[in-house]
């Protein structure tokens, strides 16, 4: 058996429950040591995918490889994967130590080694002072850490996390995001993290896959996925996006240079996702709010669109403007340079952008 560069590989994997297709032919390759996220709305098939990797569901079709080895038929207790459950699933009748020692003890190693490894894992998650406590007496964040220790102590090839921060409050969640990243770097295990929270996925992941209706819409680094969304769904799901629907009028090397949007012609030199664009294609232009600028008068030399300020919302470091363009289309603008005095609700303004920041998505 050859050493695989991938901790996890899915080849055309599907899962059907009766007539329902939960996962529809996905391909995925996750290298060793990567922090990888499966991101998508609820019902998109991400948890089912995770449960197939863990061995709790068997793929209806396709092949699942763990560290290069075909693993479709390997039961969960023989798999080199561990799962951190959303509910933590700590054993309520066992102390923190016994919980974490559960895995190592099943591996039939000496009790001294068990003790050593458990303490190591508990130190990694900074819970070594709570060894004799029962899960009931721990806070949510502490339980979370114990659940993590219970998984990493087994040194799995792939550590699976099913929305592990879902039950925590916002502040603790932010804290744990950084902690998880630190722990992952420290132990060097491949993490596969399931979440519906795009911000969480962006913060922690080396790469992420956006899933929708059982399919993978895009795989890439957080930057790629944010700046070059492959589909309209990805553009809308990741971050905030203004989407302008239009028709391609001119193309250069597969990227649209001019797009007509509701009668106006917009100049772009943007990238285009998916297949190369052709004249006449229906596309959506993705404009991130932070790439838009406000002007009192029509700016020269850049594409722009007239509009009227509907709202100006102070958000601390920046101001969010809601602009209503022609044909009542609304645009969200985050301008760090503009102030509220510059553009008050009711004012007529121009919205401009740099062509190179526009990204087109073929529908």
């Amino acid at each position: 058996m050859t050493e695989s560069p991938y901790a996890l590989e899915l080849r055309n994997v599907s899962k059907h429950f009766g007539d329902i297709v939960a996962v529809d032919g996905i391909d995925l390759q996750v290298p060793q040591g990567e922090f990888f996220s499966l991101l998508g709305p609820s019902g998109c098939g991400k948890t089912t995918t995770l449960r197939m990797i863990a061995g709790f569901e068997e793929p209806t079709e396709g092949t699942l490889l763990l560290a290069g080895r075909e693993s479709n038929d390997i039961p969960p207790f023989r798999r080199n994967t561990n799962l951190v459950f959303q509910s933590y699933a700590l054993f309520p009748h066992m102390t923190v130590f016994e919980n974490v020692a559960f895995g190592p003890r099943r591996a039939r190693i000496s009790e001294r080694d068990v003790h050593k490894r458990v303490m190591e894992a508990l130190e990694t998650v900074r819970m070594h002072e709570y060894v004799d406590r029962l899960p009931r007496s721990l806070s949510g964040g502490q339980r979370q850490r114990v659940a993590l220790a219970r998984a990493i102590v087994n040194r799995p090839a792939v550590l699976l996390l099913d929305e592990p921060l879902g039950a925590l409050d916002l502040k603790l969640r932010k804290e744990m995001q950084l902690e998880l990243k630190r722990i992952q770097r420290e132990v060097g295990i491949c993490f596969v993290y399931v979440t519906h929270d795009q911000e969480e996925a962006m913060t922690m992941s080396d790469r992420l896959a956006v899933m929708n209706r059982g399919r993978i819409e895009q795989v890439g680094s957080p930057e790629e996925v944010y700046h070059r969304p492959a589909t309209r769904f990805v553009a809308e799901f990741i971050g905030e996006a203004n989407l302008l629907d239009g028709t391609v009028e001119a193309v250069e090397q597969g990227a649209p240079t001019r797009v007509s949007v509701a009668g106006d012609t917009v100049t772009t030199v943007a990238s285009c996702a998916g297949a190369p664009c052709e004249v006449g294609d229906r596309v959506s232009l993705v404009l991130r709010p932070e790439h838009l600028h406000l002007h009192r008068d029509r700016p020269n030399g850049v594409p722009a669109m007239p509009g009227r300020v509907v709202e100006a919302i102070f958000q601390g470091s920046l101001i969010r403007f809601v602009i209503e363009g022609p044909d009542r289309r609304r645009l969200s603008v985050l301008d760090t340079t503009a102030s509220r005095d510059q553009a008050a609700p009711g004012d007529a303004v121009w919205v401009s952008w740099l062509p190179e920041w526009v990204h087109a998505v073929v529908e």
Partner: protein, 308 residues
């Protein structure tokens, strides 16, 4: 196979405990299940289905001291004799009265336990359970100290000079049987109702109050619909043992409090009329089944009515 359907929704897709999993074929699941179930199902097939089967068989045969075991429906015809019909009606009256009385007491009691008694909740609940652990025969017989000719009620009423003669309808009558059955089955009536009420979020009640609903509206539109299932459970759990009760009529019923079970016992152990006895037993079984079905329909309807 209907239970194998797993919803595809992301978080709902984890069935309780037992799922088959990778590498574990369905046939192995069936095999393990067979190992686990062989004992329990075997015991039931032999010693539960067996007796019911024989009972069914005998109800269609000539089975008495003089009978020869030939096929007949005369047992069912005989079961319709006036004296049995009269006892059956008597049984029905007693059962329905006890049932009504039980619900009248159990419903508010369950409500108090679930929402109003605070830290007394667990002790009271355990007291309820405890009363059921006492010997039912002793509990029934002990009612003679309350209802008997020289019992508590008669003594108090005489002392207060409200009556000159002890009331003689307190004991060895239908009345006594109804009282005793109600007392005996109270724990069983309260628990399902209490369980149903516990599923009501206290805040829902407060919200209803907050929206200006009076107690009747709150009850009709919130409490009752949410406890309808508990209501059904109570009727099913309690009516069946009541309609077939033997000890209460035997110990405090006298002749006017006779119920079907006493007749059945007499047919089997006293007169050896196994055929008619079996037929009567099946009538009893059919009656219980009918009540279960009827109360099921009733709760179903009430739920529909309140949801509209």
């Amino acid at each position: 196979m209907s239970d194998a359907q797993t919803p595809a929704a992301d978080h709902a897709d984890t069935p309780v405990l037992g799922t088959g999993y990778a590498g574990k074929a369905r046939s192995r699941g069936s095999f393990s299940a067979f190992i686990y179930l062989a004992g329990p199902v075997g015991v039931l097939l032999l010693f539960f289905a067996g007796p019911l089967g024989i009972l069914a068989l005998y109800s269609f045969q000539e089975r008495s001291r003089t009978g020869d075991g030939s096929w007949t429906i005369s047992n069912y015809v005989n079961a319709l004799r006036p004296q049995y019909v009269e006892t059956a009606l008597n049984t029905l009256v007693i059962a329905v009265l006890s049932m009504v009385l039980l619900l009248v007491i159990a419903y508010p009691l369950a409500y108090l336990l679930a929402f109003k008694v605070g830290r007394w909740e667990v002790p009271l609940l355990l007291a309820l359970a405890l009363s059921d652990e006492l010997n039912p025969l002793i509990r029934i017989y002990a009612w003679r100290t309350v209802l008997g000719r020289n019992g508590l009620v008669n003594t108090v009423l005489t002392q207060l000079r409200l009556i000159d003669q002890p009331l003689d309808w307190l004991i060895f009558t239908k009345f006594a049987v109804v009282v005793v059955l109600t007392a005996s089955w109270l724990p069983y009536a309260v628990i399902p109702l209490y369980a149903a009420m516990k599923t009501i979020d206290r805040r829902v009640l407060e919200a209803a109050r907050d929206l200006g609903a009076g107690w009747w509206t709150t009850f009709r539109s919130v409490v009752f619909p949410l406890t309808a299932a508990g209501f059904l459970a109570t009727i099913v759990i309690v009516f069946i043992p009541i309609i077939s009760d033997f000890a209460a009529p035997a110990l405090v019923g006298g002749t006017s409090g006779r119920m079907l079970a006493s007749v059945t016992e007499d047919l089997f152990l006293g007169r050896g009329e196994w055929g008619i006895g079996s037929a009567l037993t099946f009538v009893l079984l059919a009656a219980s089944g009918l009540v279960v079905w009827f109360s099921y329909k009733l709760t179903d309807l009430s739920r529909l009515a309140t949801h509209r």
